[in-house]
């Protein structure tokens, strides 16, 4: 897999999502939990807006000086015995990691949850060199067993319910117990424990890398990143190049924003850091450590009007409040990154050609922008994408283009406006019945598939007003 996760056309994906009642129920109930949890945490802090401003400032500063901080990070990781590799593309990252796997003659790899490894399609690359990959995040493990894809960036198996999980465990792993979450989790735990012990290499993503100390940090609730980083002697972390903080102090603030915004937790269950290799005199740490820093289109975004999209800390708050995501689910986006942030970054990372519908998959309600803990103006960036699609990419619909040209003429000429305003009612007369249009022409057609439209008023406001003024003058 890569960023693009489907070859089906957009409309088909949407239909598929809308038809999936199971998924929609699961999403609606998860959104309900996440929303109220986030709100509670925000209220509890009392000055949530100040926190968001702080989050925004930290991310703005860091991204403005990203070259500097990446250098410091790289120096510090190297100082602590780690190897740092800057990968310009997904292929470069995969090849580097394949090389290590081959060198180590590794047969089994355990992974903790990571979106960037999904983005670069690392699992396929590992399979190519004969390594068995085991996902250790519960949600990711379920999806792996089921040969399914993540539909959410924090809770990847959000679209599945417990009956479906039980079924997967039964078919793929011979599970015989009930669909009680405790029993399912305990089964997964036993199974995964064996995998941790047998693994040759551990691969992690990265929530934030701390430049000042070279510590690559993971935030989990299951402790699986801790298991992955503790047992295998060879460790590889893969990070998107923007996932960096200057010092522990900023880490503290961003983790706090992350867990509160993501799932409504004050603090996560586990924060794990890996700081290079086991140096002389140290009692723990891996023998070999590699940090792969992935660009894959990110540096192209730097310095553009979309730079703030790189501020994202992948909390999924925007996804959890999104009413579009609510009805279509994650897979409909056709990108490994769904929801509002997905609609913003997917075309940036992977081009407009395959993803030109995404910026329109939003009613621009602004719920995403309102909750983003680092204040990314998501809905404004979606509008900006639309402008680029129309102006630069020339991918706009031809009829729409004509209509908009007409709109400009209409709205900049009061005389033309007045004429057509008065003509609207008679023009729509053939479609109106009892002051209601049940099936309209042109753009009204899309509207009237699902709802009625009223016939235009018998008298426009302006003519009513004019008559009223006249009456008063007399």
């Amino acid at each position: 897999m890569s960023i693009k996760i489907s070859n089906a056309p957009y409309n088909e994906r949407v239909q598929e999502g809308v038809k999936n009642d199971f998924m929609r129920k699961a999403v609606a109930s998860a959104q309900g939990r996440f929303r109220s949890g986030r709100q509670k945490q925000a209220d509890e802090l009392g000055n949530w807006e100040d926190w968001r401003t702080l989050g925004e400032e930290i991310r703005t500063h860091t991204l403005r000086n990203i070259d500097y901080y990446l250098e410091i990070l790289s120096e510090n990781v190297s100082k602590r015995g780690g190897n740092v590799f800057f990968a310009k593309t997904a292929e470069e990252a995969n090849e580097y990691i394949q090389h290590i796997i081959k060198k180590k003659n590794a047969k089994k790899v355990v992974k903790s949850k990571s979106m960037v490894t999904e983005e670069i399609g690392l699992n396929d690359a590992l399979a190519e060199v004969g390594a068995e990959v085991v996902e250790s995040d519960l949600g990711e493990w379920i999806l792996q067993l089921d040969e399914d894809l993540p539909s959410h960036i924090v809770t990847p198996a959000l679209h599945k319910n417990k009956e479906q999980v039980r079924e997967t465990f039964a078919v793929k792993k011979g599970y015989e117990q009930s669909d009680k979450p405790e029993e399912l989790a305990s089964f997964a735990r036993q199974q995964l424990r064996q995998e941790f012990l047998a693994a040759d290499v551990g691969i992690t993503g990265c929530n934030f890398a701390v430049a000042e100390s070279g510590a690559v940090t993971f935030v989990t609730n299951e402790g699986n990143a801790r298991m992955v980083t503790t047992i295998p002697d060879t460790q590889i972390s893969v990070m998107g190049m923007e996932r960096i903080v200057p010092t522990w102090e900023e880490l503290d603030i961003l983790v706090s924003l992350l867990t509160r915004a993501a799932v409504g937790q004050k603090l996560t269950s586990y924060i794990t850091s890996i700081t290079g290799t086991r140096l002389e005199g140290e009692s723990d740490g891996p023998e070999e450590y590699h940090l792969v820093i992935v660009d894959n289109g990110r540096s192209k975004i730097l310095g553009t009007e979309f730079q703030s999209a790189l501020h994202c800390i992948r909390c999924a708050a925007c996804i959890n409040v999104c009413p579009v995501y609510r009805h279509v689910g994650g897979h409909a986006y056709g990108s490994i990154y769904p929801g509002p942030i997905g609609a913003v970054i997917t075309p940036l990372l992977d081009g407009y050609e395959d993803h030109k519908e995404l910026p329109y998959a939003s009613s621009l309600c602004g719920a995403c922008t309102e909750v983003c803990p680092v204040k990314i103006p998501l809905h404004e960036q979606l509008i900006r994408h639309r402008q680029i699609i129309v102006e630069r990419e020339n991918k706009g619909n031809k009829m729409e283009k004509l209509a908009m040209k007409g709109f400009a003429k209409w709205a900049s000429s009061p005389a033309a406006y007045k004429l057509s305003a008065a003509a609207a009612r008679p023009a729509l007369q053939p479609w109106s019945k009892n002051e209601m249009i049940k099936s309209g022409p042109g753009p009204l057609k899309g509207w009237t598939i699902n709802r009625d439209f009223p016939a235009p008023a018998k008298q426009t406001f302006r003519s009513w007003y004019k008559n009223r003024q006249k009456g008063r003058e007399v």
């Binding site: 609510r326 706009g396 009061p414 009625d452």
Partner: protein
């Protein structure tokens, strides 16, 4: 106080009763209302569809139309929200930046104007019925108006105000979104209609006609008997 009415093209052409209520309401509260005849549309349909140049033509017309107004008041959170975005859009434009700032600074959505500028919370109106209120997205999130409509509604005698479940969720209108993404928009409005029914309200009230026509149109399609009413209609009602 001198107030220029910004009618919005929708309330001018489709639902002109909203404009009448707005004018009467403002006059009742002692405002001198005028209607600059050169106004057209705020430009939002083109702007949100990505047609920046086309939308700017409409915006410039609006800036010309309201150049001399003291206050500009409109019965729509979304359209007034658009006026408030002009400064961002014309930032750095030597000819229009000042005009854009000027218009944005004097523009108000009607409930905001009543509560924040006129300082009125009780209009002295009466309206009998079970009412639920849909807080439209741009009103809430772009203009930041959260309390004014509730404050005003609570003071209307006879109104039984029932909270709308998951009220913060978009109704699915979203301008051209309703047409371009009609499947998703349709699902959104179906859920909204369901929530309105759960309240048992007889009237769905809001501050944006476009959203109300969306939800109302869905409800009539479903054969439901809930009426839609712009908030000015309730506020301008006295028995």
């Amino acid at each position: 106080m001198k107030v220029s009415l910004f009618i919005t093209c929708m309330c001018d052409i489709i639902t002109s009763n909203v404009g009448k209520d707005t004018v009467e309401l403002l006059e009742r509260l002692g405002c001198e209302v005028d209607f600059p005849d050169a106004q057209t549309c705020c430009g939002q349909p083109a702007f949100t569809s990505g047609y920046l140049e086309e939308s700017k033509k409409a915006m410039k017309q609006m800036m010309r139309a309201f150049k001399d107004s003291e206050f500009v008041v409109g019965p729509s959170g979304s359209c007034v929200g658009m006026l408030r975005e002009y400064p961002k859009i014309f930032a750095g434009d030597p000819e229009w930046e000042k005009e854009a700032n000027n218009l944005a600074a004097k523009s108000y959505e009607i409930t905001q104007f009543l509560v924040d500028v006129l300082g009125v919370t009780d209009i002295g109106s009466t309206f009998k019925g079970k009412v639920t209120y849909h807080p439209s997205c741009h009103m809430t999130r772009i203009l930041g108006i959260r309390d004014a409509p509730y404050t005003l509604l609570k003071h209307v005698q006879g109104v039984d105000l029932i909270e709308l479940p998951i009220k913060e969720d978009c109704c699915g209108f979203g301008g051209t979104f309703a047409v371009k993404n009609s499947v998703i928009s349709g699902e959104m409005v179906k859920e909204k209609s369901l929530h309105v029914s759960e309240t048992g309200a007889e009237y769905l009230v809001g501050g944006d006609m476009a959203c109300l026509l969306n939800i109302g149109g869905r409800m009539t399609r479903e054969g439901k008997n809930v009426k839609i009413a712009h908030i000015t209609e309730i506020l301008n009602h006295h028995q």
